[in-house]
Symmetry: C2
Subunit: 348 residues, 2 copies
């Protein structure tokens, strides 16, 4: 039915990146609580308190994001002038964490918004820029801050409102990756983790209205994108060593796993969720798990990227999910639409 | 100094699109006041009142945006399934106009945020997707709604706060363009307006803190991107028949023109601003002019695209500007950073 088929398009919603854009460096700046979690020692920086020398949490978030970007570029041995385009995403209204972080950098800037799926949107957009010949090096960076998000999306933090068990904990984290090609002078020993393909998400709304249960709202979007991915590429879930969702948490991940299995997609033996890896739920009071734009990005950098580099996994399907509501849409009685973009990575 | 130069990169911040992605269709949905302005008869739809059957202006904006997208696809004779990717941008917190508009569409969705420069960011991202072989057809759509923006960024509309002469009027508008190639079965008689290149913006902050004077905040970003464009491409301003900024308004446009002229760039005989074309300032009480994410997009579709199609202009440099603050950043004492992305178009 398609009138014209784009060259690097597979199936209805998927892309292939034949040149295989590669991760050249990563950098993470984690909050104190994230630093005390199971991945604490894997983060590049753990800030001592939630303000980090700033007066407001929004400014803290922007500072964390800026530092992640700057140190990521430095980690690759590159300079700002080597970065052809910077993609940022965050949850703050009007995406101020990214805009204010970019203010201090002499780098072309594109702001993105797919809520907690923004990191995947950025990896896909950056890969398209690299593969299309529009950038030799790109940085993708996202951030979230628990306290800034909490007071924006829910209640003033001082109020201490009780949270139901389905609630998730927005991560205080910033993470940046620099993408290029293995032939880059900045590749060094890196460049072995490559982005081979992606499946673009559609906005899915199943009518969930509870902002304290975003896992349930997002699970159908994850199922839709993952099922489309396997169909578009004609591979079974077992093609990947691990299939990782962004921040479905304990509630949403179980729903997504059940729905995928009911479609005949056997994922359960290799299904992980960044929101469940970031914290120790037995020890840290995060209820259903972590969330936030930087939850999947931080866990990717600190855990999955390192694991791919040291040979633990060869192929990963990385599928961050985003809840696309706002405090205004919730108060106006709207449900919570969601999206999931999936990125396929391979270690060589 | 560049280690690796991307194939379609020119100078420090510019891209060329050798395949020349083309505009296949456009559609605009304008508010009542915009319908009474100088371009009123050029809009495809003018809604009768600012609610348009919805209970809240935010929902009205999302409805306008959805209709612009749907009718733009129809105007090309295409179906949703022909659209490989939809880029949306709006000013509402968490970009809800775009997310809720995309909810009803079975189209892969990428949310963007460059404030009122989002339309340019979308045109550039879509062009990169088309040229890279990642999409055969893409839709770029943006929206803004005066009342939704006013109560979000400034004061409750019911309060009737007096606005200073430097203030601009956020346009109630939604606009969509469908991009493809002239060989597309959906090109019809269109496809003659092509995107030939672009210059990516950096975030520029000159310290302006007054959200009632965004023209002054944004003018330096426009100057930076336009000057970079002429340098990167090695062309003088006279290469273009018209050079169009997005929504600098009367104050910002004068500043930008003076700054460009002081750099030896003679733009004044061909310098226009969408914010000054959308309303009749003598008759409509918009102070310094129009603004909003859809101001530049709506004026592009209703005025410049049509003018290019009918031979009035051959080459246009289209440079929407965005103010990247939020109500929170303003209250926290931050200045207003700005960005400008420029898109070069040519009629054949």
């Amino acid at each position: 039915m398609r009138a014209i088929h784009a060259k690097h398009r597979v199936g209805r919603r998927s892309l292939v990146f034949p040149g295989r854009p590669s991760v050249l460096s990563t950098f993470t700046v984690a909050g104190p609580m994230e630093g005390q979690g199971p991945l604490g020692r894997a983060f590049d920086t753990v800030i001592p308190d939630t303000f980090y020398g700033e007066r407001c949490w929004e400014q803290t978030e922007s500072k964390m994001l800026r530092e992640a970007i700057v140190h990521c570029i430095q980690a690759a041995g590159a300079a700002e002038s080597d970065v052809d385009v910077l993609f940022t995403g965050d949850l703050l209204a009007q995406c101020i964490a990214g805009s204010y972080a970019a203010r201090d950098l002499a780098v072309p800037h594109f702001g993105l918004y797919s809520a907690c799926a923004s990191f995947a949107e950025g990896l896909i957009a950056a890969s398209a820029f690299l593969e299309g010949g529009f950038a030799a090096h790109a940085v993708v960076a996202v951030s979230s801050h628990h306290d800034a998000a909490e007071r924006q999306f829910r209640f003033p933090t001082e109020l201490g409102v009780q949270r139901p068990p389905t609630a998730q904990w927005t991560a205080t984290l910033a993470a940046a990756v620099m993408l290029g090609y293995p032939g880059s002078p900045f590749a060094g020993g890196a460049g072995r983790v490559r982005i081979t393909g992606a499946t673009l998400g559609e906005v899915i709304d199943v009518g969930v209205k509870d902002p304290y249960d975003m896992g349930t709202a997002m699970a159908p979007a994850a199922v839709d994108t993952l099922a489309t991915h396997f169909k578009d590429f004609g591979v079974p879930p077992s093609y990947y060593d691990v299939i990782v969702t962004g921040d479905l948490g304990a509630v949403g991940q179980r729903i997504a796993a059940d729905l995928l299995e009911s479609k005949g997609l056997a994922v359960k033996d290799r299904f992980q969720d960044c929101g469940l890896l970031l914290y120790d739920r037995a020890r840290q009071d995060v209820h259903a798990g972590g969330s936030g734009a930087a939850c999947s990005a931080g866990v990717f950098c600190a855990h999955f990227y390192r694991g791919m580099m040291n040979g633990s996994w060869r192929r990963i399907l990385f599928a961050p999910t985003g809840a696309l509501h706002s405090p205004v849409s919730s108060k106006q009685g709207e449900a919570i639409p969601a999206i999931c973009h999936a990125v396929a990575l391979e270690a060589v």
